[in-house]
Symmetry: C2
Subunit: 211 residues, 2 copies
Amino acid sequence: MSQSNNDKATSENVVWHSGEVGRTEREAMLGQRAGTVWFTGLSGSGKSTIAVEVERRLATAGRLCYRLDGDNLRHGLNGDLGFTESDRTENIRRTGEVCRLLVDAGVIVLASFVSPFRADRESVRDMHVAAGMPFLEVYVEVPIEVAEQRDPKGLYRKARAGEIRGFTGIDQPYESPDRPELVLPTASSSVEASAESVVELLRVQGLIGSA
Amino acid sequence: MSQSNNDKATSENVVWHSGEVGRTEREAMLGQRAGTVWFTGLSGSGKSTIAVEVERRLATAGRLCYRLDGDNLRHGLNGDLGFTESDRTENIRRTGEVCRLLVDAGVIVLASFVSPFRADRESVRDMHVAAGMPFLEVYVEVPIEVAEQRDPKGLYRKARAGEIRGFTGIDQPYESPDRPELVLPTASSSVEASAESVVELLRVQGLIGSA
């Protein structure tokens, strides 16, 4: 198993099982290297739209990938969490663990989360690094004015009206990445061009072949 | 997406994303139907041993599967949980959600958890049924005396010595399944025979082909 053994008092009578079938064997079967592509950026930056386009391209090429996003995870695993700072942190922690399980299963994960706090993203990166798993941070960059004008879910309008508190970019900060693997400026690039840049990143990093 | 839309107050500003690539497409690519095999039974019943053997057989046949168990999940996603009744319930809830995500990704999940409470197992079953996903409950049945004699982790000894509280079978009940898809009596059957029964169940249920 490639997960780190993060012992806790609550887990002291737990024995770590080594699976006989490892990630490398699953990756060989699938013909790909698994890893997480983490899209971060403001609401309305285009994270999910780009992830959907990348997913389509990878699936067409016969690659196994899976898309996680804040919106659909919050209906299940993280349905008990709200949007306070600590709930956001727990949301990202659990999501990082799920990414790691999916990657361990051999899957290329496309995770799109606002994930406004640098420390949270770094902890997800560290989790992956500790397990020897690729983690590719993609900053989906857009001026807040453009995101607010797009407002695909009407959330900026609600936040300005005071109907939503703690909205990233309005009354909570967004901390941009220091050294992301890729920056996608979506005010000036098409979805198709952005998706192609991500696929190219996966090639360069050796997750998929050049075919 | 095949997950149900389980709205909560905390999630009211969350929009459900429909992925362009669905589970059916991933299953077709992998040549299998995804689903969860849920092994339940006392500590020492043989759940994980059998799951490892099933995993080996499926991998050798080119099937993508992934093993989850209480021991390794508790080092990551569920590392914040202990063994009180409510923590056990939350442990199983999160695990059920992870199963569902892995199944949605196209994977055959082999989940081995003591999961002593019938209601918890039924809620995981319901989650799967609501999402149109196979859920196969396998009762790994063993007399407590036999499990205690095996005591592979030395936990029964600790529980008898009062060093562990709330240990299933000693001072917490184990509620056996009413209508599991399969019963494996491990006091009288070999690991190999048990594993073969599970593989046969997967064939009968259409998750894997007969090859």
